[in-house]
Symmetry: C3
Subunit: 267 residues, 3 copies
């Protein structure tokens, strides 16, 4: 598990809080057993809590379970699935700040299935496959009516990936395809992604640089066809030797800024 705390800033007029106290706690409860024949059966629920600012303060919750089995390079899981679009390698590359600051670096702009940290999830089924440098992930939920597939290939320090999602729900428009590429050159990281969600295109490039011992700077620029302004983000992390000081600032598609600063740690 892990935890984080800090301060959020939002320049948006009418935001719930211009400055907000932020905190979050995550504890994964993992259970697993292995049969004599080498099949691993596993189950996970997550205890997740935390609040930001003054609106909608809540207690913690325990997620619906993700239960499944893995053998060789194949994993099958049902319940609170991770979702194939969500898990596309490189999708979250370029993330900045303590909290991700709205994940504006992600090039998909609709809805997709993902593991719900304190909620019900989508009671779906998914298959994950990996073989050496190749990985693939197929997911489907009868609750969300979303079906998604991603595939990725890693060569040396670089990874390319592609994903497609079909939305079968009536009146819903989350059909998405996207591609990502990213990797590293010594102390520098580079990435790019392009996505199309029901005809709305979004593009992102990102880069990072390691500065001396334990400090890293990350930045991204993104263009969302439906947004009035160019989106960008700039952030840093600094190792405290057992915890990480992190902060960042972004400009969203309306030209407003969000920023955060705080500490996160694992346990």
């Amino acid at each position: 598990g892990g935890a984080r705390f800090g301060v959020l800033y939002d320049s948006t007029t009418g935001a719930a809080d211009e400055l907000a106290l932020h905190n979050r706690f995550t504890l994964n409860i993992d259970a697993a057993t292995e049969t004599d024949s080498g099949i691993e059966f596993f189950a996970r629920v997550r205890v997740r809590g935390g609040n930001s600012g003054t609106a909608g303060i809540t207690n913690s919750g325990v997620s619906a379970p993700r239960v499944g089995m893995s053998v060789g390079g194949v994993e099958v899981a049902v319940g609170n699935i991770k979702g194939a679009l969500e898990e596309t390698p490189g999708l979250y590359d370029g993330a900045v700040g303590l909290t991700g600051l709205g994940d504006l670096n992600v090039v998909a702009t609709g809805n997709w299935d993902s593991f719900s940290s304190a909620g019900a999830g989508v009671n779906g089924v998914e298959v994950l496959y990996s073989a050496g440098a190749f990985g693939a992930h197929l997911s489907h939920s009868p609750v969300s009516d979303l079906t998604a597939l991603n595939a990725s290939y890693a060569f040396g320090d670089w990874t390319v990936a592609a994903a497609y999602q079909d939305d079968a729900a009536a009146g819903s428009a989350n059909d998405t395809w996207l591609v990502t590429a990213g990797g590293s050159l010594g102390n520098f990281g580079l990435g790019a992604a392009y996505g199309d969600t029901d005809g709305n295109a979004k593009f992102r490039v990102n880069g990072s640089a390691a500065l001396g011992a334990g400090t890293k700077v990350t930045a991204f620029v993104a263009d969302d066809e439906s947004a009035a302004e160019t989106i960008w983000g700039l952030g840093f992390t600094h190792s405290l030797g057992g915890a990480v000081l992190a902060g960042g600032v972004v400009a969203d598609g309306t030209g407003e800024n969000q920023a955060d600063l705080g500490v996160r740690f694992s346990f």
Copy 2:
């Protein structure tokens, strides 16, 4: 704790799902301490989650606690009690499938108190007594207004039990009495039960056979006075050496079928 996952089938017209993904997670959090004089004080809450199909998907919950003490053969507990009717030995004999498939093998047809796995329970009090082959259990809840008693006796591989429940709630009709008997003859198991709930009689016979290494087949037939059709069930379990493959099929009192198939494991 334990977990399970698989697929459910229901032939009923208008069922929420004809085929449903199923998963469940259970983690008991047990705490206990023993005094110098040998009294054990204990407390349990249960973390329980899981979903079936597409309707009413929810996150996991933590049960109300069951707290009590035990000394010698006597256990006293309050809160989220187990309930004496629910705990009658042999009541669930003949259970089939991954999930129990509606527990149609149980001969009580009203409501009774039982430990709520993710809910509030009935804030009752209960006393359990065991001495050698004899066991007894008395429970009462001021919330449900149910009072129940069971008594059982084991001789060799056979156990007989009887239970009675009084329902003191106004306008409620869960007065129940029942008897059970069951045991084993080498690789074969046999059982029978008869219950009367507010005048409605239900009868069940059940049998099982161990087939080779790790495989077991179980069947039951039941007649519920208020049901149009004879109830039956057939199921199997097969050991995977650390997990269990289980499946079954039942016919309910309206002649419809439910079936399931999946894996369960403990941790």
Copy 3:
């Protein structure tokens, strides 16, 4: 963590239950990590459940997190804070019974911030400082608009403390100041406290005596300016060598009595 169970009594006409079954379960989930430079980062959530009587029976819950850091004698935390008024040394002195019986010994009569055991808390920030015999605690919540400060000093077996709370919420009247003093003389304990909440004065004196091995009797008398009757309480605890038998009786400000009896234990 810990648990307790027993019976509550309330003489009040129209009380939900004259006699009520009571039980409670508490499990703290604490996580911490220490950096190379000696800063400790910590997070806590609490699993809390329990019910009393027949009204409002609920399952257990997981609290919002309290997350923070400590270094030297300074601790900073955000989220589900403890609250400086709540944490004033001596505030709860004179507590009687298994459950505290309404905490009538506390001389503050308004609202204040405190760690919510199964709820959301007030998403605040607090700083705790201790240096030898001196301690101080400052807390603020933008949710409750309460700001509180306490300071305390211990000399030998005696401690004195003072606290002040400012209520900045519109239409709310929880401005409070209070002082406490308490300590011990061999087998005897003594204490006194005075508080003023928005002009309403409350005074309390309390004493305790250790009787033989493992038995202690505690009593308090309190006068609340807004109450019709003098408030008093009398209780005992008796060690069971690993658990504690506790009971008490109080008279509240309307002259009604509440009493309890039961066992509590830690794990």
